[in-house]
Symmetry: C2
Subunit: 357 residues, 2 copies
């Protein structure tokens, strides 16, 4: 029975980079006889324009029926004035929550070929390979009660709730520890347990989970210190595990350390290992339509999908090697271009990966 | 009538750096005829050891009666096993809250003499001068309800409340805008208004405050993007204003960008401009007792106190110039030492500042 992949191109550069990623996916599908069948749907701004809502029922139904989802990027200024619940990012948050994609994997990996792109001194980031594991369906992103109310004295007050239960912490903990086992066997759990009770529980449950992984080292770090250490000496980390909000902040900082956010894929997994895969970067309205976006993060998201959800490791490795090969050839899209490397367009980069495959 | 300064040396390196800072304060007090009277009290671990609580009644009474407070640093592993409400940081949080020190000023300034200390490439940080204005008595740090409860299904759940009212946002907004007026006239307000309702209100109130400062530019940035931009191109910022939790994370990241956190002072102000002044760094138990801690952040905290609370700008400038002079002389404590600069102890650095004065 063929496995179903849902393609959500999204907005702005989303469709441009997706075109290249789908070419790559089609090729490995054939070459490695993966028997994948592809379907398409709308999400975010594209869905708002077509159906009035960022996550149409049809998209959700198709998503539920899929083994994996490949997403481009959503959002843009043209939809920013809409009411909150109709904005593009609601589509993304809705999908994460409806599919219970609780485990967000965000590798921050510096390709040796791109070492000079980092804003940090080369020796501090050369060989950087961190995996941030972010809880994605709980915490303050989804906590209730939430809203804006008017107090008795007439002034307004905004409020949100940062909440985690033991089982939510436990499942992200197990994911982080099992991933660390395949790497350098070190987990650093990030919290603010000197101030926030919810993260006191977080820390306790991480300790408990750690007992099942005696071969993996667990350390704890306060979030303010983690932000400092990422800037000071990022290579000290292997796997970082943290909640939704801290993970949002730290994973973006870590991605930027590499200087090439256009290269970084991400995965969002459910309990069964099904997942949504997308580049770390956004929909970049400023460069949309120019054919200059970097498709490699989306192409590498295909590789992550093959590795984590579809269990097709040789196909994943083939894509990763092809990406490395085009970098070795000196091809660079605008975002990672420097010196006298050859500057290429989105489609030229896609074609180069296809050739390297 | 003489103005009262309360000295809280705190723990570990706290008393060591405070000794030097007090020498400097005594000298400018005499030289500039400031008529300051100094008193001492206990906070944090030192208070726990002496009185069993991190913020004794006597300390609070003296603090309330003071015009300004100079704090070393609190905390250490020996008090980490105590019950939550008895730990050293409770003393600090209690003081902030009791005195309503809502406005936390954290400059991230790179001394040209220390440019090579940064982990970022020199051209990205040379001349860096950011002021982070962090709300310090509200937000998720103090929000209720909070705690750990047991759900009907028997599992535990931790929860905290992220809450801001209009008036809390307004007063920190006014502080940020009036400080920006004395600088490059640009405020960037950091929120997560695409996800958190409390920061939707934050953004609205910032817009409203901005109308009173037509000469100051207001922009908004999501916190994840702000963390990225601090790493990518920190010099784009002038004043950053944000809530307690985001401010904790971003100000530490920004401080670390300078590579010399041992140099950075901070201020925590109330509505009347009274304040508590302290270095950005912690109590550094690992180097305590060795006489190698850098006293300059605390000495520069004295300068900030003279500037912001006591309105003694010439005395503040004299201290800042003296610090710059000792850096020019090539004196460096261990934390900022490199190459063939002259390595000095805590007290040698203090003496050098005194001489330069
Ligand atoms: C678009 C936004 C809601 C989202 C988030 O905050 O999770 C994004 O920043 C991300 O990290 O995927
Ligand atoms: C010690 C801790 C409670 C404190 C905070 O989180 O505010 C510290 O990190 C700071 O930034 O002053």
């Amino acid at each position: 029975m063929s496995r179903k992949i849902l393609i959500l191109p999204g907005d702005h550069i989303g469709p441009e980079i997706m075109t290249e990623a789908v070419k790559v996916l089609d090729l490995v599908n054939e070459r490695f006889k993966l028997d994948l069948s592809l379907d398409h749907a709308l999400l975010g701004g594209a869905a708002i324009d077509a159906c009035g809502v960022p996550l149409p029922e049809e998209t959700l139904t198709k998503a539920r029926a899929s083994d994996a989802i490949l997403l481009g990027a959503v959002g843009g200024p043209e939809w920013d004035k809409l009411e909150r619940h109709l904005r593009p990012e609601r589509g993304l948050l809705g999908l994460r929550s409806e599919l219970q994609l609780f485990g967000n994997l965000r590798p921050a990996l510096l390709y040796p070929q791109l070492a000079e792109a980092s804003s940090l001194k080369a020796e501090l980031v050369a060989g950087l390979d961190i995996l941030i594991v972010r809880e994605l369906t709980g915490g303050i992103y989804f906590g209730e009660p939430r809203g804006i109310r008017t107090l008795d004295n007439g002034e307004r007050q905004g409020y949100n709730t940062y909440v985690y239960s033991e089982s939510e912490i436990r499942r992200i903990g197990h994911l982080a520890f099992s991933l660390a086992r395949q790497r350098d066997k070190r987990v650093c759990s990030v919290d603010k347990s000197n101030v926030l009770e919810v993260t006191v529980l977080w820390r306790e449950v991480m300790e408990e989970v750690a007992r099942d992984y005696p071969d993996v080292e667990l350390t704890h770090m306060y979030v303010d210190n983690a932000a400092m250490q990422l800037v000071r000496a990022p290579k000290q980390f292997d796997v970082l595990v943290t909640g939704n909000m801290f993970g949002d902040i730290l994973s973006d900082a870590a991605a930027m350390l590499t200087g090439s956010i256009g290269m970084l894929p991400s995965a969002s997994l459910d309990q069964q290992g099904r997942g949504m895969y997308e580049p770390c970067h956004g929909s970049a309205p400023d460069i949309a339509g120019k054919g200059i976006a970097n498709p490699l993060a989306t192409i590498l998201s295909v590789a992550m999908m093959l590795r984590y959800t579809l269990n097709e490791v040789p196909a994943a490795e083939a894509i990763e090697q092809a990406v490395s090969a085009v970098l070795d050839q000196g091809l660079r899209t605008a975002d990672i271009h420097s010196g006298d490397y050859q500057r290429v367009s989105t489609s030229e980069m896609g074609e180069a990966v296809i050739r390297a495959l």
